[in-house]
Subunit: 347 residues, 4 copies
């Protein structure tokens, strides 16, 4: 790697923000009841409810995959289907966890920018009421998407309206919801429950937390059996206070916003610094904290000697560069400069 | 509660040991690859392999329930059965997670002291080779048991020998394995792989860690697909270094042993302090860090005003008092003294 | 075997009643729409609804195991539990199919005569509302039981009342429901929906049909998604008319009653013919078409050379003799006479 | 409908062939052991083994969906994936039964003629060895396909070779395997085990049987636990002799061949009779017993008044006409003639 050991592999390669680390220490005194019946959890849930409204129900789990799977589970039976883009994390990066736990089929739709539209959803509405077919029950979108793009609030509203009209729920995978919120310049609520989202996976691990995600239900009915499903899904933390403390710190003084603003800004700067280098083709809109580009195949390992990152598509030689809350301008400039010289040399 | 806020509800009501907390901070520098491909995880796995032998395979997960479920899953198909005592955590405290994930039936055997014997296992060996019956495939024991008792190494050996003879595996739920090891005055290996255990859930959360447990396989074949199952089971931590760091600290300088020795000692002292109080009937052997007793029903809420603990059996008015690594002699004496005066007053 | 090849192994060793066989031929003309949208299915469903009431919903599946599993599935989620006697077919004879498909845990209660009581059910009502525990949701009884005993209508009513009071459903495995109905001298409805049963597996295969069972729901709400679950459970027959035709024939002119009356009568005669033979100990009340007895171990294989039957309990040398609709008085007398001489010789 | 009540909806709308019906009656004498341990089942299995070779293992189940699901289950764990065309019955017509029972994800590939190729399979071989991805484990093809096309033996061999090279299995859904065999002028074995198929769903219901399909394993290892899985999958018939008898009759004197030859011939004649009618566009190769065509939308209901059939694609107005073993030349001519006049009138 470069002078630092920071790369552009993933925002989850970063460590824990000092404010979060301090929060862990701050709740480490004495005994509290396990499994969430403690004041620290009450505090964190209270802060979340302030954001998402009094009708919302909040539950902490360990991972983003768990938040997605258990959130989808809450609205479905095994003969249902979940409509999602074919780039969705639930479809390609969770090793079949949604199918395993919910029994549902995922209907994955090609969506070049990682975003569903009403038309794409409509194309999957087949065999409704026909017992030979799985029945579409949830539409799942990721905000910001796996390709770094961001749904506008209007786009979310349209999908939500169509889904509800068809008796379906709208699920949002918000593993990078903070990056999306700052990209849109909005709060969490307007983009989620306020736009018609029914179930939200609210993530913080990629933006400075250590572990722990939240499932947010916008209708209490959906949450009815969640406590049992969370335990059955092996996601009930005994020492819950340490997840709760992270969330409280994350929401305190807008830590989430500062971190995400920084990560997005670094991505914009990275984009600016590399987009005109000959040999670099930017492949996706840079709307949050990811930059996707096609670069010559032979340059990749040379670059990876100094900065770790992942190849997104082996066939096209497309790579992904993620920025995180702790990416520095030096990282960005050092990276862009190295890329420039490698590409110059390779010509 | 008393002067402190420490009760006797559960060892997971305690906080995180300072050495573990320091370890979290010590690995918080810079970027490392996510999902376990990092030097901190390599270090922790290496320490575990030193203990459990080069043939062992080590995987970190989030919770004890997950360690149990995924460990059982590794050796089974859904038409198999798991034989366990009817007090087993997998049977009564995991909300059906084993059935949900593995599909297997649990054959739960009444065992008054929480310990299986070869004879009790034999009684469940019915319908072998008969397609209408689930096929016993795993025997699961808990060390130390949910009733605070401890299997001797010979007892484990006998069950293992019988299980292997019948083509079955032996699983050990080691949520409190440290308390058992110090009770027996032995190391981890002699009591597990060395005694014939095939799969072990190795727990530390109840003995000073924050979160994270390990699944230990004693035959590499059993671990073959575990990486996929862990991900599918929603148990793959992205920031794995923070689980690993806890394990390294836990094994460093025998922290596990000091903590467990202390908790067990406190239980013995508690036992000594209450056993002769009129109105107290000790109901189980005090072999690790739990004391079980029957006390008059009406005294329970009065006692709970000062020290939180759980009623184990509503019908018989049996209660459970757990000691943990941070229980103090003052806690024990204060509790015993309060119990004594409450009982005296109630006569 | 004796002069005939009929034994006492099981009522499903018998063939198909001629009236049922004729019914199959009678619907074999031309094309009809597959999967149940045909007039023959409408006829059979109509006959069932006449019996069970206009609020009932009727679905055909292939096997009794399927009827049980899909019936239990309709009222449950995977964190629920099903309370049943430990002799229940769903617990010991379905190779874990209920757990596999529904994810639920079965709470199996020792019940010496194969019959649950309210007290036995109460003993399983633990951890209600506690997320670490599976939540009891269905009580399942078998009528007539696996031990040949029969619940009275009052006994069913009491269990139903308790179950409903606790927010639970009552499921009845009616694999031998006809034998129970004639034993009680009642119709199907009084003993099922009329007594509070919510879901019924209605069997005919053991009483003269070839294949096919019915799931009967007594509340339309329970049946809401059943069509999909049946298909997903691999139980939707394409050529449904042939299951339907059997049911129509079975209900026509009380074929079910004649067959069951005969089978029960043969069991009573068998009981009468053997009960006083020295060396024979009758072990269960003979209330339907089964006779259970303990006989000397060494006599069993000699008897089995002529009449096939199953050993129920290897340890106690208890055997089960089932009578069926085609058992003859000659079978009974021949069997009793052979048993008598074998026992005389063995003394 | 026309003079007869036979339509072109599906080959499973036809009744049971008289020879099969006679076979049912012929095994209806006396008692035999249930669940397959009877001479009739031995006979049918023996006949199947003669066809498929001594290494093959044969199991009867109730439905084609069950044969597919349980066959796929035998080679997979829940973190595996099944690659299939997006027209596959397992993907679109089984209400998620494969996902529910096996836990696996289906990777469905667009394949315009319903046939996979090695290139199409290769396109799904992503993330091999990467724990975030499901691992491709089975390739599933349908013979003849859901679009009426037929794989050549060489095409099957190529897919098998590639699959095996990648450590995968080849599954064949043979719901209409007889139609494919006569289309290719070959026997069953050359097209299945002989061409590299590992697991076969062997269907007869669509070609003159009443119910019952067979799962054929070409390696005994795959069949090891099948007996238990079949029972757990609710597919073990108690009165197995009646499935067995159908298979024996079906294989006796090449009944399967005569029936399939006839159905295919009728499809060819139907194709010949309609293909040149103005307004009819044949959309798929007519290689087995199906004819696919686009006809004007408004004609469909008029035609359906006389002959029932299904619309395959609402958007394009494509319809499917299936011929069966009992389709007559009069049916074909009457249908073609009616279609001709309706189309003439609609111009």
């Amino acid at each position: 790697m470069g002078k630092s050991n920071r790369g552009f592999a993933s925002d989850n390669n970063a460590g824990v923000h000092p404010a979060v680390m301090n929060a862990l220490a701050s709740v480490n005194e004495g005994h509290v009841i396990a499994y969430g019946d403690d004041p620290f959890t009450a505090d964190a849930v209270g802060r979340m409810k302030e954001i998402f409204g009094g009708q919302s129900e909040i539950f902490f789990v360990f991972t983003g995959t768990a938040a997605n799977v258990l959130g989808l589970d809450a609205g479905t039976s095994s003969h249902h289907a979940v409509i999602c883009p074919d780039t969705a994390h639930i479809h390609v990066d969770e090793c079949g966890a949604p199918e395993k736990f919910t029994g549902c089929k995922l209907l994955a739709v090609p969506a070049p920018d990682g975003k569903l539209t009403v038309d794409l959803v409509k194309g999957q509405m087949r065999g409704i009421g026909f017992e030979h077919h799985v029945q579409p029950r949830v539409v799942s979108i990721t905000q910001s998407t796996e390709l770094g793009t961001v749904y506008t609030i209007d786009e979310i509203r349209e999908i939500a309206a169509y889904a509800h009209d068809q008796g379906m729920l709208l699920h949002m995978d918000g593993a990078r919801i903070s990056n999306a919120a700052v990209a849109l310049g909005t709060g969490f609520s307007e983009m989620t429950g306020g736009a018609g989202v029914d179930v939200l996976s609210f993530g913080g691990t990629k933006n400075g937390m250590m572990y722990g995600e939240a499932v947010v239900f916008f209708h209490p009915g959906l949450a009815r059996d969640f406590r049992y499903r969370r335990k059955q899904g092996m996601q009930l933390a005994s020492k819950m206070r340490y997840i709760a403390a992270q969330f409280s710190a994350y929401l305190e003084e807008d830590l989430w916003r500062k971190n995400a603003l920084h990560a997005n800004r670094m991505a914009r700067e990275l984009h600016g610094a590399v987009k005109d280098i000959p040999g670099v083709t930017i492949t996706r809109e840079v709307e949050s904290n990811a930059v996707f580009a096609i670069i010559p195949r032979e340059v990749i390992p040379l670059l990876q000697e100094h900065y770790f990152f992942y190849v997104w598509d082996e066939e096209t030689s497309e790579v992904r560069w993620m920025c995180s809350y702790d990416t520095t301008r030096e990282d960005v400039n050092g990276f862009a400069s190295l890329l420039g010289s490698l590409l110059e040399r390779s010509r």
